[in-house]
């Protein structure tokens, strides 16, 4: 079994790397790889100056103070506690052992026992955990990864990820067995949430108690940074957090002896988890097959439409966004269809009207409550609205796929429609324009309401006075759909002008070359908008200068 797993994993890895290297012979992948590597260099490798040199025992990160280790360990322990608690309290709908369709086809009818299959999955997961540990070490501990501590960091990550994976598998199998035996999930959830509530009450009391003893002149930030390690390492909760402190400890030591000492209990936990999972004899086959089928459907859909569906396939018809019979023009039929295809059913006039009314009511409520001090709440509302609007304007077109790209799999049908190409493209672009404009307009409304009445004293009345706000708001409202349409033209032109590049963008999975290609298209989109807005921005700057 172990030989077969090693053969499968190592041969697949070798072939995967070779195929990725071979495709670099095509300029589209080579260009993407160069851009992707440049991105990695600037974000991760640029800071590495002394390869092989230990960063020093006291240092956790070059960006953090030397004594931050205790706080990081405490935060890490709390995070792990919550992750493990969620595995029991709100378990995933996935089976504990996720087999691919190929694994099911080859291994389920093979002469293996159920325990053999569990063993296969557990050992395969360690292989994945090892690869993930390299990635996480690169993302979170890049300085130590390129120092003499590289081995410590990788082993610490691997042990942590292996235990988390094994605990996920063990908890899923245990819960499945409990359900098999007729256990009620409600009681389990109640017990888990009672434990969580107990922890929250205990920590809340500890925080409040410490706060009472604090002198009035004390620094709250300093108190908080000392209080968190205190919760985890002292008091009654230290026993609860003890196993999680053990898991974090290997990340904080720097010499071989201390590392071995920190790793020993983690290895013990790993062995216990291993035996727990392997000795479970729960029927997982039905759930694994159903999950593999869903995964395969999602990958097929991604290849077909370029859109990754996160949840289950929709089974029930959705309420139409508007009455199609009452409108004219085939473009609006595309809008109607694409609005029905959105991942979330929120984009209806009724919902947007409700959000607008809620914003108005909120602003009015704060006005009534705070009077002249309204700007304290209004400032937050205005900043939030401006941020939401800017995000919809700048990132929305980068993220949405609700346009021609979504329909390219049906290109043969689209071409048979008795419509000129521009009308089809316009129809396909309408849905993202409408959705993103709606979000941006709501953001504008929040901004406008937030600055209404008593505005923050720091803002210049000349530029943020009532008249200017109206002028700016109206201009922004008019320009927004045009800018969004402009941004959407680039990604929609790509599949028509560079179909082979677009196909690679729909390829599931990652890779530095694909990441680089996506970066190139992202840069292209931003560049077009910047160039298009440059004359207007220059005119505005001139106006400011003149006045």
């Amino acid at each position: 079994m172990v030989r077969a797993i090693l053969y499968l994993r190592l041969t697949s890895l070798k072939n995967f790397l070779l195929s990725r290297l071979r495709r670099l012979r095509q300029p589209k992948y080579l260009t993407g790889a160069i851009v992707g590597l440049a991105y990695f260099y600037f974000f991760f490798f640029r800071h590495v100056q002394h390869l092989g040199e230990r960063p020093g025992a006291a240092s956790v990160s070059p960006f953090l103070p030397p004594d931050a280790g205790a706080s990081i360990a405490a935060v890490g322990s709390i995070a792990l506690f919550l992750v493990f608690l969620l595995m029991w309290g709100a378990p995933s709908t996935k089976p504990g052992l996720n087999f691919s369709e190929a694994e099911i086809a080859f291994l389920f009818p093979a002469p293996l026992t159920r325990r053999g299959l569990v063993h296969y999955k557990v050992l395969s997961a360690q292989f994945t955990a090892l690869l993930q540990s390299l990635l996480y070490a690169l993302l979170f501990n890049s300085r130590r990864l390129f120092s003499g501590d590289a081995g410590f960091v990788i082993v610490a990550w691997w042990a942590l990820l292996a235990i988390v994976t094994l605990h996920y598998q063990g908890s899923s199998l245990t819960l499945a067995r409990l359900v098999e035996r007729g256990a009620r999930p409600g009681r389990r959830r109640a017990a888990i949430f009672a434990l969580l509530a107990g922890v929250l009450v205990a920590t809340g009391y500890s925080f409040w108690h410490g706060l009472q003893k604090l002198p009035a002149s004390a620094d709250l930030g300093d108190y908080f940074s000392r209080w968190i390690p205190g919760v985890v390492n002292e008091g009654p909760l230290r026993w609860l957090f003890w196993p999680f402190r053990l898991l974090v400890q290997p990340f904080l030591v720097h010499d071989a002896a201390a590392f071995a000492l920190a790793l020993a209990p983690v290895a013990g936990l790993l062995v216990l988890h291993y035996f727990w999972v392997v000795r479970m004899n729960t029927a997982f086959e039905d759930a694994s097959i159903a999950h593999a089928q869903r995964q395969a459907d999602r990958v097929a859909e991604l290849r077909r439409t370029g859109v990754l569906r996160l949840g289950e396939a929709r089974r029930h018809a959705r309420r139409a966004p508007f009455d199609l019979a009452r409108v004219r023009g085939p473009e609006l039929a595309f809008l109607w269809k694409n609005l029905l295809s959105t991942a979330r059913p929120w984009f209806t006039l009724r919902n947007w009207g409700a959000v607008a009314l809620l914003l108005i009511a909120t602003a009015a409520g704060f006005h009534a409550l705070l009077g002249p001090a309204y700007w304290k709440a209004g400032g937050v509302l205005a900043a939030g609205g401006a941020l939401a609007g800017a995000m919809a304007l700048l990132y929305g077109p980068l993220l949405t796929r609700l346009d021609l790209r979504h329909d390219l799999a049906n290109a043969d049908i689209l071409k048979t429609y008795p419509l000129p190409g521009w009308r089809i493209l316009l129809g396909e672009l309408l849905a993202p324009i409408v959705v993103l404009t709606g979000i941006a307009w709501l953001g504008l409304l929040a901004w406008f309401l937030g600055l209404q009445g008593h505005q923050p004293p720091a803002l210049s009345p000349k530029w943020f006075g009532p008249e200017m706000r109206i002028v700016f708001g109206l201009c922004a409202a008019v320009v927004t759909p045009v800018v969004i349409a402009m941004e959407l033209l680039i990604p929609n032109a790509v599949p028509l002008l560079f179909p082979s590049w677009f196909q690679t963008l729909r390829t599931p999975g990652g890779g530095i070359d694909l990441m680089g290609q996506r970066l190139i298209f992202g840069f292209g989109q931003v560049l077009v908008v910047v160039l298009a807005l440059l004359p207007a921005a220059a005119a505005a700057a001139l106006l400011v200068f003149v006045t």
């Binding site: 030989r3 077969a4 053969y7 499968l8 041969t11 697949s12 890895l13 072939n15 995967f16 195929s19 691919s100 369709e101 190929a102 099911i104 086809a105 080859f106 291994l107 389920f108 009818p109 093979a110 002469p111 293996l112 026992t113 159920r114 029927a283 086959e285 039905d286 097959i289």
Partner: protein
């Protein structure tokens, strides 16, 4: 555990039942297949054909009932039972980053087939994919993938074969070769169960037919026996007409 009373029967299914929650996919199904026999499993969509095949191939556990493959109880001695069988799903599911040759090598390791390269060569030749031996599945057509999946299943010389819609995606030449291959394996002594909607395929290659509807057996026997049961004395009634009469012509 061996079934001493049923040694002639390579596949012996007794009281097979499979529940998915409150839904019963297969109910109290019993049948047997002897060496050299080809049993065609037919029924409308949702009749429980794939569930039955998956249960008797040891892919999913049955809720009740007993299954023996080549005399070995599938529940008590799954390894010995599975060593004798091969399952061919309707869609070829392959590992993305193993070549054709490496798929066969992996299967050989799983089944403990010694000297697999000697066996793999003729299989690749038989299925006409020898020239693709070093290609990844991504470079193969659907028909070639199907052929590779079948070659992998035959590598350990199974005596019990389960086919789920074996002709899906094959071209006319591939269909003819597949039918010949099934008949040849049966003639060599294999016990075969195949599920298909293509009734003409069943007429050509099956010695026996089992008609399922809503998880329950409607009829089971040789084609002449089934024909006699549903023809109501009419001459020249084909299997399609028999199927419609037996199932009432609808899924429900």
């Amino acid at each position: 555990m061996c079934f001493a009373d049923h040694r002639r029967e390579m596949i012996d299914v007794s009281g097979l039942t499979k529940h998915y929650g409150a839904f019963t996919a297969v109910r109290d199904l019993s049948f047997a297949v002897q060496p050299g026999q080809v049993l065609g499993l037919v029924g409308p969509n949702g009749a429980g054909k794939t569930t039955t095949l998956r249960c008797i191939a040891g892919i999913i556990p049955p809720s009740a009932g007993r299954i023996a493959i080549a005399g070995h109880d599938l529940a008590a001695t799954p390894v010995a039972a599975k060593r004798a069988l091969a399952f061919f799903p309707d869609e070829p599911r392959l590992f993305d980053y193993l070549t054709v040759r490496q798929h066969l090598a992996f299967v050989a390791k799983i089944y403990g087939v010694a000297d697999h390269e000697r066996l793999a060569g003729p299989l690749l030749e038989e299925f006409e994919i020898a020239d693709k031996a070093d290609e990844l599945p991504g470079a193969l057509s659907r028909g070639m993938k199907q052929k590779l999946a079948i070659a992998c299943g035959l590598l350990h010389s199974p005596s019990v074969l389960f086919f789920d819609e074996p002709l899906t995606g094959l071209d006319p030449l591939g269909i003819r070769r597949m039918k010949r291959s099934i008949v040849k394996r049966a003639a060599d002594g294999a016990a075969i169960v195949l599920s298909s909607h293509l009734l003409h395929l069943l007429e050509e290659v099956c010695s026996h037919v089992l008609i399922l509807k809503r998880g329950e057996k409607l009829a089971d026997g040789t084609i002449p026996e089934i024909t006699a049961q549903f023809s109501q004395g009419e001459p020249d009634v084909n299997l399609e007409e028999i199927f419609i009469r037996a199932t009432g012509g609808s899924e429900n």
